[in-house]
Symmetry: C2
Subunit: 390 residues, 2 copies
């Protein structure tokens, strides 16, 4: 257990913060990051993982938890990394892998972040959590709040798909429908919760969802026997996973588990109808302007403004990666192709990653001998309406 303190992600020079107290954003408005005693952590050995639980808590030494605390867990993480056969051949890649996040509780990668966030929320004495969501994050928050015995308030755009709303209610959460986008839902959640002392588990507004998401990189490193692939192709809404994995690369290098200077190139995939990170990347900007009239069938990508924009852009650029937008039609075609060729249930976000890989492969950015990980961030079950419009 090497968890030690919190630090501004900029960093802006604010004093380090004590994680035994509640903290959300830094006083400068940027996200806070969890830090560990990396010198001590160099004593931690990879082979200690053998035989541990098949969940992300197998990396508990580098998770935000103190001795004597129990994680709030439903078996999240340690999802399969599938070496594709027919799909790789169709794209022309020998080494195309799918990290299948549909096998998480609540059917998406959001379970990782909420397992970590709600573990800390409970330890910090919270009794009620709240968040705005495009869908899956709310489902995960509701499930982990139930597992932890906390009340949960979910604020969700009024046009969200029915399964997202129903699944929140299945876990006993209170759902408020808000006209507008996730940013509007966030405003209402903050107004409502401030006076009531709700613990806010919004994307990057507390420091721990990142820690849950970073385990994607720990797992892939372990599953690939401690060799990085050439490319990570990641559908990006709020971008917690990008930020978390970039942080994980640094940790893994500094504790001596992975060699420095060989990180995967990070590709941020967005929708043509909501591509603030892609636009900023192309313009060479350090931060992203909000996207007007955001619209895409991939609810997880309908995020007009990401609070961690500068961190996402930093990861993409420093890794030598890229950012690109794909159409809704190509995402749905991608869902069907992943399903038909590999038997894997993919959300439109997973389909978007496939469309991006195809584009980057055909233009020669991704070489045919490169190894590529496609992040299928969730399953198709909440998106079946896209497959058979009625």
């Amino acid at each position: 257990m090497y968890f030690s303190h919190l630090e501004c992600s900029v960093p802006c020079g604010a004093p380090l913060a004590d994680p035994r107290q509640r903290h959300h954003l830094c006083r400068c408005g940027a996200p806070l990051l969890a830090r560990y005693d990396l010198e001590q952590a160099r004593h931690w050995r990879r082979d200690s993982l053998t035989g541990r639980d098949a969940s992300l808590w197998r990396y508990r030494e580098m998770m935000p938890i103190f001795a004597g605390e129990q994680p709030v867990t439903l078996g999240e993480g340690f999802t399969p990394l599938v070496h594709t056969k027919r799909l790789g051949a169709a794209v022309g890649l020998e080494a195309l892998y799918i990290k299948d996040e549909s096998l998480n509780p609540t059917n998406s990668f959001k379970a990782r972040g909420q397992s970590a966030a709600i573990t800390r929320a409970r330890s910090l004495g919270a009794t009620t959590i709240a968040l705005p969501t495009a869908g899956n994050a709310g489902n995960a928050a509701a499930a982990y709040a139930a597992a932890a015995g906390l009340a949960c308030h979910v604020f969700i755009p009024a046009d969200a798909k029915r399964p997202f709303v129903d699944e929140c209610r299945l876990y006993g959460a209170t759902v408020t429908l808000v006209e507008g986008l996730i940013t509007d839902a966030g405003r209402v959640a903050a107004e409502r919760g401030a006076s009531l002392g709700w613990y806010d588990v919004s994307t990057l507004k507390e420091p721990y969802r990142i820690e849950g998401k970073k385990t994607l990189a720990y797992e892939i490193a372990e599953q690939m026997e401690w060799r990085w692939p050439d490319w990570f192709v990641y559908p990006t809404g709020g971008g917690t996973g990008m930020v978390g994995m970039w942080k994980a690369f640094d940790e893994l290098e500094r504790i001596g588990w992975m060699p420095a200077g060989r990180r995967p190139k990070m590709v941020s995939v967005q929708a043509t109808g909501c591509a603030p990170i892609v636009r900023a990347f192309e313009q060479g900007a350090d931060t992203a302007l909000p996207w007007e009239q955001a619209a895409t069938v991939a609810d997880g990508l309908r995020v007009p403004r990401a609070i961690g924009d500068f961190l996402i852009l930093r990861a993409v650029r420093e890794s030598g990666g890229t950012a690109l937008a794909v159409s809704d039609a190509s995402m749905v075609a991608g869902m069907l192709e992943i399903g038909r060729t590999e038997g894997i249930s993919a959300a439109p976000e997973g389909g978007a990653a496939l469309a991006a890989i195809r584009q980057l492969t055909s233009q020669g950015t991704i070489g045919l001998n490169d190894s590529v990980v496609l992040f299928n961030t969730g399953g198709a079950l909440k998106y079946l309406d896209l497959l058979s419009p009625s």
Copy 2:
């Protein structure tokens, strides 16, 4: 790898069958069972499991696979065994566990059986598989057929819920809607497939789905550190899991991994609208008459006639267990209670198991100090319509 031959489940005296050939039912009409060289298997040690893949193929020595063959896998099995807190307290049990099968590919325990069945189908040279289904088995078959590169024909009652049909199509399967129940769908599938040489993966009509399902027992034994709980409470449609786990108990005893004479008591849970096994159990019959006008919201329990009826009844009786039926309303209440108290996504079948546990606890059949495993055979996502009738 100790897989050796096939044997009639009665047994009727038919010669042992060679698993390198295609076999479906025994010539006497009963299911065939996979057999292993259990003498040799006594050399296999439990501690060899440490560090193996987190899937059911960690038990490959006792699975139907030969040296040099690769399983068709999507990461099925090794699902969490959750020690409940609030739910156990609500029922009055300190040691209530949920085996959460919703974390399998295609969101249900059917993935186990199809991973095994389609592994063998491919090895035996099949190019097209077919089956009748109430829903989840068809989804699993379609996914594993896609993963194996086989064509798949699914026959499903015309009144099946839309998500089951859509998910089959996601994996590229050909879906035929049949008026009536799963038994009617089975008749049509058999007629259609016979002349075309389709490989039939219907429940118990090939010997290998049982082998996938039996791993539920191997996993629980391992997860409970090689001590059986007192009760297994299992929602029963076709009953492959009951038959498979009973077989696993025998194997685990004979290879010396578990002590003899201490098996869990098996409880078969059915719906009041379709309870052929419960009726036969109560009447002291060895086989079950078909249930007329079967009706229940739990699609997996809407099985009017189980080909393995005599095997299910044998497992229930020999274990000192029981069989009982619960109402549809209590199943839906159970789904909501599991969700609200534990954050676990439960199918109505899981809700049925909870209703049964409550009934057996309140009447004193299950003692308050007993340890109990509730089988949540799938998730709620394909059943959300039950929660908010529109």
